[in-house]
C-alpha cells in the first residue's frame, strides 16, 4: 500500500515513523537494538549522547498530552537536540489557521524533525506528505490509528523480560476499538511473529473485523488469559466513549478487570503491561498494578530509549554502526 512507501526511503530505510504497517521485522529489530544501545548508556549514567546536536525537533501536539510529550522531549534533549513545543489545541487551530499553514510556518522557523500528535486518524501521514523533503515526521499518536513509538516501547519491554518473541502468547484486554496503541501493538506482534495475539473485550469495544488483523477474539477474560505470557491491559478511554458502549465501570471491572485472581489464568511468569495512565479499579486492581508481575514503570523508562532510537534512525544516524571507544 502507498502509505507504507511513505515512511521508507529509496534504500527501504525509515525516513518517517508513522505506522507499524508496512515495516519489516528487520526494521523493528533495528529500532529495538538501537534502543538497547541507549539503555546501556543510561545504565552507565551517561545523560547525554549528542548524536543530534544542534538539530531542532518540534513537538507539534494538536491533542493534549503531558507524558508522551515529556518523553519525546527528554529523548530529544538526551541526544543534544533543541526542542520546541507547540500545543495547537490551545493555539492557532482556534484562530482558524489551517494545519498546513501551521506546518509551513514552523518549517520556516528551521525545524529538522516533527513529532506529531493529532486527534484525527491519518494526520501524521498527511503531515508527512506535506513537509519539505528531508524533514522526518514521528507519529506520536493519530486518532485511533497508530502510536508506533508506544508500540515499540512495549515490544522492547516484552523482549527485555521474555527474550524471544517466537514462542509468546499475548493477550490485549479492553477497548481495542478506540485504541491506537492496540493497533500498533497488534501489527508489531504479528510482524515479530509471536505464536498468538488475542484481543479480549465485549463486541462493543472491538473493531468489526478485528480478526482480519491476525488476532484471535475472546469475549471472556479467563479464556483470553489462559496460558498467555504477556497481558496488556488498555485504558478504558472514557473521553472517547460518545455512546453507551459498556453499561458501567462496575460491570466492566467485574468482567474484564485484571485482579490477582484472574491473573492466575495466565502463565505463572506472565508479565502485566499497561500504556498508562491507569484507572485503578477499572481496568486493573491496585495489587496487580503494584505487584511483582507488573512491568508498567519499566515501560516508561524504555519509552525514552525507544524514542531516542527512532529519532536517530529517521535522521540516518545509526549509532550501532559507529565506532565507539
Amino acid at each position: 500500500m502507498i502509505r507504507n512507501v511513505l515512511q521508507l526511503n529509496a534504500e527501504k530505510q525509515l525516513k518517517h515513523f508513522l505506522s507499524m504497517e508496512g515495516l519489516k521485522r528487520h526494521h523493528l529489530i533495528e529500532i529495538l537494538d538501537t534502543a538497547d544501545f541507549f539503555m546501556d548508556y543510561e545504565r552507565n549514567r551517561v545523560k547525554k549522547v549528542p548524536l543530534l546536536k544542534d538539530q531542532t525537533i518540534v513537538n507539534l501536539f494538536f491533542e493534549p498530552s503531558t507524558r508522551t510529550r515529556m518523553t519525546f522531549e527528554q529523548a530529544a534533549k538526551s541526544l543534544g537536540a533543541n526542542v520546541m513545543n507547540l500545543n495547537i489545541s490551545t493555539s492557532s487551530a482556534k484562530k482558524g489557521e489551517t494545519l498546513l499553514d501551521t506546518l509551513h510556518n514552523i518549517e520556516a522557523m528551521g525545524a529538522d524533525m516533527f513529532v506529531v500528535r493529532h486527534q484525527e486518524s491519518g494526520a501524521a501521514h498527511f503531515i508527512a506528505q506535506h513537509t519539505a523533503p528531508g524533514i522526518p515526521v514521528l507519529n506520536a499518536g493519530d486518532g485511533r490509528h497508530s502510536h508506533p513509538t508506544q508500540g515499540m516501547l512495549d515490544m522492547m519491554t516484552i523482549r527485555h523480560f521474555k527474550k524471544e518473541f517466537g514462542p509468546l502468547k499475548v493477550a490485549i484486554v479492553g477497548d481495542i476499538m478506540h485504541s491506537r496503541v492496540a493497533r500498533s501493538q497488534i501489527h508489531a506482534l504479528t510482524t515479530l511473529e509471536v505464536t498468538e495475539v488475542r484481543v479480549v473485550g465485549p463486541q462493543t469495544l472491538l473493531p468489526s473485523e478485528v480478526e482480519k488483523l491476525g488476532v484471535h477474539v475472546h469475549h471472556d477474560l479467563k479464556s483470553g488469559l489462559d496460558d498467555v505470557d504477556v497481558v496488556i491491559m488498555l485504558r478504558l478511554q472514557n473521553e472517547r466513549m460518545d455512546g453507551a458502549l459498556i453499561p458501567s465501570e462496575r460491570e466492566y471491572f467485574k468482567l474484564y478487570g485484571l485482579t490477582e485472581e484472574t491473573l492466575k489464568y495466565a502463565k505463572d511468569d506472565a508479565i502485566v503491561m499497561h500504556p498508562g495512565p491507569i484507572n485503578r479499579g477499572v481496568e486493573m486492581d491496585s495489587p496487580v498494578v503494584d505487584g511483582d508481575r507488573s512491568v508498567i514503570l519499566q515501560q516508561v523508562t524504555f519509552g525514552i530509549a525507544v524514542r531516542m532510537a527512532v529519532m536517530c534512525l529517521v535522521m540516518g544516524v545509526r549509532p550501532l554502526e559507529m565506532n565507539h571507544e
Binding site: I2, T98, H118, S121, G122, F126, R144, H145
Partner: protein
C-alpha cells in the same frame, strides 16, 4: 461563433447511438431550429448550412446526470452554476438534476425560480432543480410540493438529510403520491452513520477511521421501501453503495413497486482499499465499500435493477480536501469523468456501448419522464459527440470544474467528448 439556432445542420459519418430507439449505426443526423428532424436521409428540401464531420466518433443524446451540485446559490466561492454547467458540457452532459440543499434551500417557489433563472442565464446545460421534501429539510413538516413542481422541480428530495421521523416520512410520501410527484431518497440511518467517514470493515479497522455500517443504508432502505409500498409513491433511491441494497431494490421491483435506483461512477470503480493511503479525495458519502459491494453494484446496473449512473458532483475548494482524511469534506468532482468511467465498463467486456450510453441517457430520463436523453425526431437537438478511442489523463489541469477533487486523479481514461450541443447550439467544442 456562427451559432444561429435555426441553422440547418448535418452530423455526418458518426456512429449514432440512441438507446431509446434501438439505433446503433454509422449514419447522418439532421437538425434544424434546435430540433432533430431526420436520421439517415435529409428531409425533402433540407440543405445543410453546416456539416459536422463525426467520422470515427460516437453521436449520442446529451447525457442526463441525476445528481450534481453546483454550489450556487449559497456557496459561489466554491463554484457557480456557470462554472459547473460548463464543466458538465465538457463531460457531454446537457441535462442535470440538482438536490435542494442549496442556501437558500429549494423549499419554496421563489428559491426554485431563482435557481432556474440563474441556470437560464448561464445557458449551458439544462438545469432541473429538485424541491425539498420537507421544509428547510428538517424532516418536520412537508413542503409545498405541488407548487414546487409547478415552478419546475422535477422531483422532491431531502438531499443528504434523512427524514428521521417515520410518521413525517410517511406523510411526505403520501402527499407526493397524491400529486403523483416522484421522490428521490438517499437511504441513511443517521444514528448508524453518525461521525463515520469510511466503510466499517477491514480497512477502517486498520486505519482507525470511524466506520459506517452497511446497515446504515439497508435499514433506512428497508423502512422507506415499506413506506413506498404503503403509500404507492414513485421512489428513486439515490447512490446505493451496498450489495444488499441492490437485492432489496430488485425484490421491491419484482413485487411491482414503482422503485428505481442509481449509483455513482466512483462506486462502480473504487472500493474501501482505495482509502487505504488516507487519500482525502476518497472520502465520499456513502463510503466506498467492499470489493464485493462494488461488483454487486456493477452487476445490478447490468441487470437493470439500477438504471442510472450519476456523477454525484460535489466540487470543493482545494483547502477542503487538504486536511486529514476524517476532516476532509466528503464528495467528488465528477461531471467531467462520468462518461469515461461508464465507458470503462464497456472495455471490461461487461457492457455493450449501447448499454453504457443508456445508463447515461434514456434510462435516467425515463425515471422522471424527462423529454431528454433521446435523438427521436422532433426532440430537442441535445447531442453529445465523443471520440471513443481517445485517451486522456485526469489531472487537476485537465478539469475545468472549479472542484479538482476527483478520486480518479492520475488515471488515464478512454472516451473524450469533442462537441456538446444543446438545442442545436454548440455549448462545448474541443479546440
Amino acid at each position: 461563433m456562427s451559432n444561429r439556432v435555426h441553422k440547418r445542420t448535418e452530423i455526418r459519418g458518426g456512429r449514432v447511438i440512441d438507446p431509446a430507439n434501438g439505433i446503433d449505426r454509422i449514419t447522418s443526423l439532421f437538425f434544424e431550429n434546435g430540433l432533430i428532424v431526420a436520421l439517415d436521409n435529409a428531409p425533402a428540401g433540407f440543405e445543410a448550412e453546416e456539416v459536422i464531420d463525426a467520422t470515427g466518433q460516437v453521436v449520442c443524446p446529451g447525457l442526463v446526470d441525476l445528481q450534481a451540485r453546483m454550489r450556487e446559490p449559497g456557496h459561489e466561492y466554491i463554484a457557480t452554476i456557470a462554472s459547473e454547467t460548463q464543466a458538465a458540457t465538457k463531460g457531454g452532459i446537457t441535462c442535470l438534476l440538482s438536490p435542494p440543499d442549496t442556501d437558500p434551500i429549494i423549499d419554496n417557489v421563489a428559491s426554485a425560480e431563482l435557481i432556474i433563472n440563474r441556470a437560464k442565464k448561464a445557458d449551458l446545460a439544462r438545469f432541473l432543480p429538485t424541491g425539498a421534501l420537507t421544509k428547510k429539510l428538517k424532516g418536520e413538516y412537508i413542503s409545498e410540493m405541488a407548487s414546487l413542481r409547478e415552478a419546475g422541480c422535477v422531483a422532491m428530495s431531502n438531499g443528504d438529510q434523512p427524514v428521521m421521523n417515520t410518521l413525517t416520512m410517511k406523510r411526505a410520501l403520501q402527499y407526493a403520491a397524491t400529486h403523483d410527484i416522484p421522490v428521490i431518497i438517499r437511504p441513511v440511518d443517521p444514528f448508524l452513520a453518525a461521525g463515520g467517514c469510511a466503510h466499517e470493515g477491514e480497512v477502517a479497522d486498520r486505519l482507525g477511521l470511524n466506520g459506517i455500517l452497511d446497515a446504515a443504508e439497508t435499514i433506512a432502505l428497508a423502512r422507506d421501501l415499506m413506506l413506498v409500498e404503503e403509500t404507492g409513491v414513485q421512489a428513486h433511491f439515490a447512490q446505493l453503495s451496498c450489495a444488499q441494497s441492490v437485492d432489496m431494490i430488485a425484490d421491491a421491483q419484482k413485487r411491482g413497486l414503482r422503485v428505481t435506483a442509481d449509483v455513482t461512477a466512483h462506486h462502480l470503480h473504487l472500493n474501501e482499499f482505495d482509502t487505504a493511503d488516507f487519500n482525502s479525495n476518497m472520502h465520499v458519502l456513502p463510503p466506498l465499500r467492499t470489493q464485493r459491494d462494488q461488483e454487486a453494484l456493477v452487476v445490478g446496473l447490468k441487470m437493470g435493477t439500477i438504471s442510472a449512473v450519476v456523477s454525484d458532483h460535489r466540487p470543493w475548494e482545494e483547502d477542503d480536501k487538504l486536511v486529514p482524511f476524517p476532516e476532509a469534506e466528503p464528495g467528488v468532482s465528477g461531471v467531467e469523468t462520468l462518461l469515461p468511467m461508464v465507458l470503462r465498463l464497456v472495455d471490461n467486456a461487461m457492457f455493450t456501448m449501447n448499454d453504457a450510453i443508456a445508463c447515461l441517457t434514456s434510462k435516467p430520463a425515463a425515471i422522471f419522464n424527462l423529454p431528454n436523453g433521446t435523438l427521436s425526431i422532433g426532440k430537442k437537438a441535445d447531442i453529445c459527440i465523443f471520440n471513443p478511442d481517445e485517451y486522456w489523463d485526469i489531472t487537476p489541469e485537465n478539469l475545468i470544474s472549479l472542484g479538482k477533487n476527483s478520486p480518479f486523479l492520475g488515471w488515464n481514461v478512454k472516451g473524450c467528448v469533442t462537441m456538446t450541443l444543446k438545442s442545436g447550439q454548440k455549448v462545448y467544442q474541443t479546440s
